[in-house]
């Protein structure tokens, strides 16, 4: 078996929901040894979000949790108790990274502070992912993924369309603020490990999720400093077609950025007369008259099948895309050939198919070595072998509700 890229890296994760868990999933899937710390009793809130098989809530079968926690071991530890904090410190003594997404108050309450942890382990890298960072007027504010998506400025850019400005700014599906926070944290974490390989020192890294989102506003933010304009979801697009059309068996996204792509599409449609109308003569004119242009296009699209149109368009180098449903993705020949989807066998949830390796490395594997852990599944293993707590101590800790 070839060596894994992050072999030998030990990571402690105190994560709830997505951000810290996705950061450490990225590490674990490349070979890091990740120990997830959950509160005794209920565990991570991701265990209650689903989706669940048969839509029956079961904390051991939540799809979000099963996905985010592949390749990790898990212990339970009550970090509100002093003894729980002591055990965390013992774990930190042998760890390279501690990744958490507590806010500043919860972090202090859990006994996580860099000065005292670095005394125990000067090489430790503490990664704090917080909605608004750890300092400043908003740092203690309550948030959810939705409110962060709004705080980062992305929601304001989406939703409605021409003539529908009564519709609210619209979030993207899922928990995208959490994923963006996790991705940035994983990058900063590995950079800190790399720097430690050079200078030998650990450090504290802080990620603001709001700033992660403000960093991906594409070209929209700069309209303000460059031109004094505020981008919004309202009004017309600058060029067309860049829109969704309904075919007879689903939706397709028609994308003609370059003029030659439009000409090729016109050709593909059999050069209908309406395409000669002056109102549609170039991409800017089509955008200005999009309501009319879309009617013609939609009429044609409604006679087409998504898959035929997609492949016929792409064969002519028109960047059409199917509006993939989940079923489309799972049956895509392309993704099948690439072996994208992964299957795990989980002791409670059974065989589960989920998104797999988002990248392939030439030498070092992306692997699923174990399914997501049950709540407290590795308590005995970790407390006895790693921390050398004997059985009676473990029994006492359990009785006190520490583990």
């Amino acid at each position: 078996m070839s060596e894994r890229a992050l072999e030998g890296l030990r990571v402690i994760e105190c994560g709830e929901l997505v951000a810290a868990a996705y950061a450490t999933k990225l590490l674990a899937d490349l070979g890091a040894d990740v120990i997830k710390v959950e509160p005794p009793g209920n565990g991570d809130a991701a265990r209650y979000r689903g989706p669940f098989p048969g839509n029956q809530v079961d904390p051991e079968k939540s799809g979000l949790f099963l996905y985010l926690n592949t390749n990790k071991r898990a212990i339970t530890l009550d970090l509100r108790q002093r003894r729980g904090q002591e055990i965390l410190r013992e774990l930190v003594g042998g760890a390279d990274l501690l990744v958490h997404n507590f806010g500043p108050h919860e972090m202090t309450a859990a006994g996580i502070d860099y000065p005292s942890l670095s005394e125990i382990n000067p090489k430790l890298i503490l990664v704090s992912i917080a909605p608004f960072g750890l300092e400043g007027p908003h740092s203690t504010w309550a948030t959810t993924d939705l409110t962060l998506w709004n705080a980062g400025g992305i929601a304001y850019l989406n939703g409605g369309g021409p003539g529908t400005d009564d519709m609210p700014p619209l979030k993207a599906f899922g928990q995208q603020a959490g994923f963006q926070g996790g991705l940035n944290a994983a990058i900063a974490a590995l950079a800190a490990v790399f720097a430690r390989g050079v200078n030998g020192a650990g450090q504290h890294v802080v990620i603001s999720i709001q700033e992660c989102l403000a960093a991906i506003l594409e070209l929209t933010y700069e309209y303000y400093p460059y031109m004094g304009l505020i981008a919004s979801r309202l009004g017309h697009k600058p060029i067309q077609p860049l829109d969704f059309l309904e075919c007879k068996d689903g939706w397709i996204f028609v994308c003609c950025v370059e003029e030659h792509q439009w000409q090729t599409l016109v050709d593909l449609m059999g050069n209908p007369e309406w395409t000669q109308i002056e109102l549609f003569e170039n991409r800017i004119a089509r955008a200005a008259n999009w309501d009319a242009c879309k009617l013609f296009l939609q009429e044609w699209a409604s006679t087409q099948s998504v898959s035929d149109l997609y492949h016929a368009g792409q064969a002519r180098r028109i960047p059409l895309a199917p509006v993939s449903t989940m079923a489309d993705l799972l049956t895509s020949d392309h993704l099948k050939t690439r072996g994208f989807f992964a299957v795990i066998d989980h002791p409670k949830a059974g065989r589960v198919t989920m998104p797999g390796a988002p990248y392939g490395f030439g030498c070092t594997p992306w692997e699923l070595r174990r399914p997501a852990p049950l709540l407290g599944q590795h308590n005995d293993e970790i407390f006895s072998t790693l921390l050398q707590l004997n059985e009676s101590t473990r029994r006492d800790l359990h009785a006190q509700g520490v583990i």
Binding site: P51, Y67, G174, A195, V206, S208
Partner: protein, 405 residues
Amino acid sequence: MGAGRPLEGIRVADFTWVWAGPFCTLQLAHLGAEVIRIETASRPCVTRMLPPWLDGKPGINRSGYFNQYNQGKLSLSLDLKQPRAVEIAKELVAQSDIVCENFAAGVMVRFGLGYEVLSQVKPDIIMIAMSGYGASGPEHEYVSYGPAQVPLSGMSSLTGYSGWPPMHVGISYGDPTGGLHGAFAVLAALLYRQRTGKGQFIDLSQQETSIAVLPEGVLAQTMNGEQPPRSGNRDPWMAPHGVFRCAGEQRWVSLAVRNDKEWHRLASAIGNAALADDKRFSSLQARKANEDELEKIITAWTLQHSPEDITEVLQGIEIASFPAFNSQDLSDDPHLNRAGAFVELEHPEVGRLRHIGMPWRMLGTPCAVERPAPCLGQHTDYVMSEILGHSDGEIAELKSAGVLR
């Protein structure tokens, strides 16, 4: 204790363009790597040709789009259509640690710059190809544009108002998601090289990195054979959960209630005593069943106030809430300004304008953007003489031959 930036001394030969690839190399530049963008005036980066331009006046170095996502990088102009330019690109790769590109699969090979070739030039090179569909599979040569990646990956079929068509998310979301996964993968390969001395090739598919952030959608299908319906801003486990209209023109506030206790606090904040005891809203299940009604009641309240006032009231009682920020709100936000979220450096053509910086603070190895985005070819002389050791005469000759263009 070294306080140098983490990737100080690492050099990146950056063949990327548009957004996904440059966003990957932006992270590496933020971390202190010397990122050299290979560009050409005969086919400039798409983002140089798009607005916003300072004062609305087009110009190849005046685009805010390019200048945002290329902060801290250098620019070498090199027309890879010319055989001698390809040789210079190889010389640069021989002096680099990392090669990044996001052309459609096969394009680098046709330039004569595929991994097979580059790993001969520099055996421990780390190379990442970040194409739309990945380097293999029946669709690998398909054309991929940012706006089309969102529907292709499944995000659009899940996003939208209830009963409405599929929708976008407001940005070409596959690009930054692909770019960040790419930067992470490069760093993992760099750590492996630090330990073993070995480089490697990384094949990243933007489609796959976009699906990687949709587990709730994919697993609903694989577990239950159902596609989650588009449901606007609503959430299966929280209600109310939405973005509500406030007083003023296009002013909106987001808020989310996570449990019954929070609902009771919100009901009292609305100032309608009967609401807290209203059976239609007494449990999550009840609030979900009567969510249309619930949202009308919330809107009747928010319409009388500004988003800032609503947020202040709700944060005062520990309920998640935030105004729907636009770019001016972000710029004016005291929290972000105090946090150092913005970068303003002197750029030769646009002067000191505000850009968004890096979202992390590395307290042991502080990172800062050292230079604004480069003008096209601004560092050609530096790269050609300081890094590659060409004489002034050679450089002048290569310029007049249109190689350094």
